[in-house]
């Protein structure tokens, strides 16, 4: 038996769309309200109530589907997915079964930083809309196994994005999720907050093995309950190894065991078998007779496409091709999200220097944001102020050696460049004063002069330190040049 196997991964991502109200009623979707305060007869399935589709939710779904390169059929409908569960008050979820609102898309992923995999295109089988269930809260603390239901979330619009089983490693899975999240944030359809459940991911994993008897696939396992991208990576790695172990023990192939659902336990770092409500279930899907089909014309789709704005992939290639940034830098900037990229562009266009701006943003701005645990929106130095700083440095108004001090002060005290220059006491040292200082120091350091004359130019270095003590505004580069010129004339 050979040791080589391929991990085959497909991801199902549930994205909560950023609407103010639910998918089929007007209740708020705000997270964190008191339980069961954001409900109405419709979303709790009160007898006699009827759903009416939220246009905005459909538009956001359409926007997403177009952004992930899906085809948009002219006709889509709603289906009921039926199962009994206490957090599903209607006894069915309104979803889309055989005619989803979009299909056959893709997302491109790459790993330019670490080179663990080649750039590739991940197929997207479909993306469809559905309403979310409520939340079951099981309180076993008091020994009574109390169960409570919060229906605030019931009816929140979810877009389920199902990938093809095109992913081959946990790194690819993570890259796919990060790229997808970035895209969703760029087009503004979701806040993608995993802690609040705005972005949820399940993974379908199995192995393809090369054996003496040809290719073999292991049974597919669905992993649930992964609450971070890191958890997805760990769970997939764990599951691949586990499946390989099980394969070695049992030799069980796909089709020889039912599809299993396992839950990721972050604390123990294991996937555990889940008693799933979906186990061997028949959802008895059928078209929801309370809703009418949704039609979309090519013109409407074109309108959505035109209004998308620039997507991450295109931003990256524009930064490298048009503005000369390295693919690595372009990636760093784009991956920070739309707001930071906008900041970058504003700065770069104002000072007209993309490379210097890139250095400032990737090296200094990002560092401060991380230190201060803040976002670019709340950052003390505005894009225009950063542009002024870069321009002042280029003009020589601010010595290069002092620009970082000025930046730190601008960050700390929320002041503009001019004020920082002023407070730091930075002045232009005029040429005659610099010559005088050179002459003074050369006169008092004959040993250094001798060293230089003997060919050790680097000896000037210790004079620079002395010069900066006497006048912190001295431009060390110019000072060094002058010293060498004067020594040469001696």
């Amino acid at each position: 038996m050979s040791d080589s196997y391929k991990t085959i991964i497909g991801l199902e991502v549930h994205v909560q769309l950023a609407t103010n109200s639910k998918l089929f009623c007007r209740c708020s979707t705000q997270f964190g309200a008191e339980p069961n305060t954001q409900t109405c007869p419709v979303c709790i399935g009160m007898p006699g109530s009827l759903p009416v589709m939220n246009r905005t939710a459909y538009q956001l779904a359409l926007k997403t589907a177009v952004a992930i390169n899906c085809e948009i059929p002219a006709f889509t409908k709603w289906d009921r997915k039926q199962y009994f569960y206490p957090d599903l008050p209607k006894g069915y979820q309104i979803s889309q079964f055989d005619l989803p609102m979009s299909a056959n898309g893709y997302l491109e992923i790459s790993d330019e930083k670490e080179g663990r995999f080649e750039p590739k295109r991940i197929g997207i089988t479909r993306a469809h809309l559905e309403d979310d269930a409520g939340k079951s809260i099981h309180d076993e603390v008091h020994g009574k196994a109390d169960s409570q239901i919060d229906l605030n979330r019931t009816g929140t619009p979810l877009l389920e994005i199902v990938s093809e089983p095109d992913l081959r490693s946990s790194a690819e899975a993570r890259a796919y999720l990060e790229e997808l999240k970035l895209l969703l944030e760029y087009i503004g359809v979701s806040d993608c907050n995993m802690q609040e459940g705005s972005l949820r991911c399940d993974a379908n994993v199995n192995l393809h093995l090369e054996t003496e008897n040809g290719k073999v696939a292991t049974p597919i396992v669905e992993i649930k309950n992964m609450n971070s991208f890191r958890a997805v990576e760990r769970a997939i790695d764990y599951e691949a190894e586990r499946q390989y172990r099980v394969w070695q023990e049992t030799g069980q192939r796909i089709g020889e065991a039912p599809k299993q659902t396992r839950g990721w336990d972050d604390a123990s770092g294991k996937t555990l078998p889940q008693r799933s409500k979906e186990e061997s279930s028949d959802y008895r899907y059928f078209p929801d007779p309370d809703l009418v089909p949704v039609l979309s014309t090519p013109e409407q789709v074109a309108e959505v496409r035109a209004a998308l704005g620039e997507l991450p992939a295109s931003c990256r290639s524009r930064l490298s091709a048009d503005h000369g940034l390295s693919p690595y830098d372009a990636n760093v900037l784009v991956n920070q999200g739309r707001a930071l990229l906008d900041y970058f562009f504003t700065t770069a266009k104002t000072c007209n220097d993309f490379k210097t701006t890139c250095n400032w943003v990737t090296q200094h701005v990002l560092r401060i944001l991380k230190e201060q645990e803040t976002t670019i929106e709340e950052f003390a130095v505005s894009a225009l102020q950063l542009a002024e700083l870069i321009t002042a440095t280029a003009d020589g108004q601010l010595p290069k050696s002092r620009s970082k001090d000025a930046f730190e002060m601008m960050c700390a005290e929320k002041i503009d460049v001019a004020t920082a220059i002023d407070r730091l006491g930075i002045e232009q040292v005029d040429e005659s004063a610099l010559v005088a200082l050179c002459q003074e120091l050369l006169a008092t350091n004959p040993k250094i002069v001798a060293d230089v004359q003997a060919g050790k130019q680097q000896a000037v270095g210790s004079l620079i330190g002395q010069a900066k003590k006497k006048n912190p505004n001295v431009d060390p580069g110019r000072f060094r040049e002058l010293c060498l010129e004067l020594v040469a004339k001696m």
Binding site: M46, G48, P86, K90, G91, I149, R284, F286, P289, V292
Partner: protein, 495 residues
Amino acid sequence: MSLTEQSATELLQLLNQGEISSVELTQSYLDQIEAKDSQIGAFLRIDAKAALARAADIDTRRQSGKPLGKLAGLPVAVKDVLCDTETKTTCASRMLENFRPPYDSTVVAKLKAADAVLIGRTNMDEFAMGGSTENSAFQITRNPWDLERAPGGSSGGAAACVAGGMAPLSIGTDTGGSIRQPAGLCGVVGLKPTYGRVSRYGLVAFASSLDQVGPLANTTEDAALLLETIAGHDPLDSTSLDVPVPEYTATINRPLEGLRIGVVREHFATGLDPEVESAVRDAIKVYESLGATVKEISLPHSKYAVATYYVIAPSEASSNLARYDGVHFGHRHSQLSVPDPTSNSLVEMYRCSRSEGFGPEVKRRIMLGAYALSAGYYDAYYLKALKVRRLIRQDFDTAFEQVDLIASPVTAEPAFKIGQLADDPLSMYLVDLYTVSANLAGLPGVSLPCGFSSSGLPIGLQLQAKPLAEETLLRGAHMYQKATDWQSRKLDQLK
């Protein structure tokens, strides 16, 4: 003539002229209910005090010259399946025995806005499933013409209260004939509107793609009055049609010129009671005498209508009734507290609650529907039924290119005896033979009296029209009503 023998249209005139007060009128009906309903059992609940208070309020407003709604002061009975914040909505089921909705259905809201006096809630087959009102979990309703006989169903209470002079107007619902069939068996006028004409918001669903709310009344004018009050587009119902509602009462007196009546070959096959057949054929002759041309047409797929209906309606019902699980809605088995959803006790609670809460016919239909929708059977049953449904609709589309109205029996026989079909669900389903097609095709249909059997039971005539042609339907029905005297003979016989 006593007040309760007059038509709603006449009563409204008396109210508007100040001849009578709404309190007086409401009291007359309450008296009738008091006198008769212990025998008939049309009403599940009456709130006399609330009705009289509302009537008094309307009287006060009328006296002070304030603007009033279309039905100002007229009592209206409502089938116990439409949500109303002021009373329970039980659907004649143990499951919803204590359900008090926190919102008004659109139809109830419209009735309230029209200043109707909602006089009581009428009995029905549980969740509107049945054709005799015997499936009510609470009581039997008797046919006012013969207390040994059923009033039909599922809107049996709605038809019986009008026939029994206990309400001038009443609201029913029709999923497969549930307005037209009891109207026919009780000798009143009952109209099922085009699917989407009247909002279903707040109507507790039986089969969503078939359910429609409609009026039951003594006369065609009264039915027109009630229909124009409750019809219209509702943004809360996605299947509601966004088209203007004609003022039916304004045109109902205008006879239809060049009327073409269609008679369906397949309707006069075996199983049709000879007395019913001759009454319907006589009615068609009346139309001829009024200048209409009669054309024999064919609805080749109508023979599949009952089978198609009994796949689609239970399928939707099995889903619509899933919410009655004892967790959020409906009866919960008393021995079990809220169980841990991860344990088997949850399934046990569902099982016990649903077993206790639903009656046998409801369970039968849930089982039928769940079966038809399950994997491996969906294509053979549900999907097939949808295809036949389309063919049935196409039959009608073709027919209505040649005729304006289709005339037919409402039922094959006059009112059957209570208990006669109770143990034979299949025969009970076949009672829907003439009525289910309109629901499958989404057409409007009306049932109106067209004679009596030798034993003195009313016989109904059904007219169907193309979608949204309620105006044609009512004008056509009114022509017949004006040309015949079943209305006055009905009153004499019922005395």
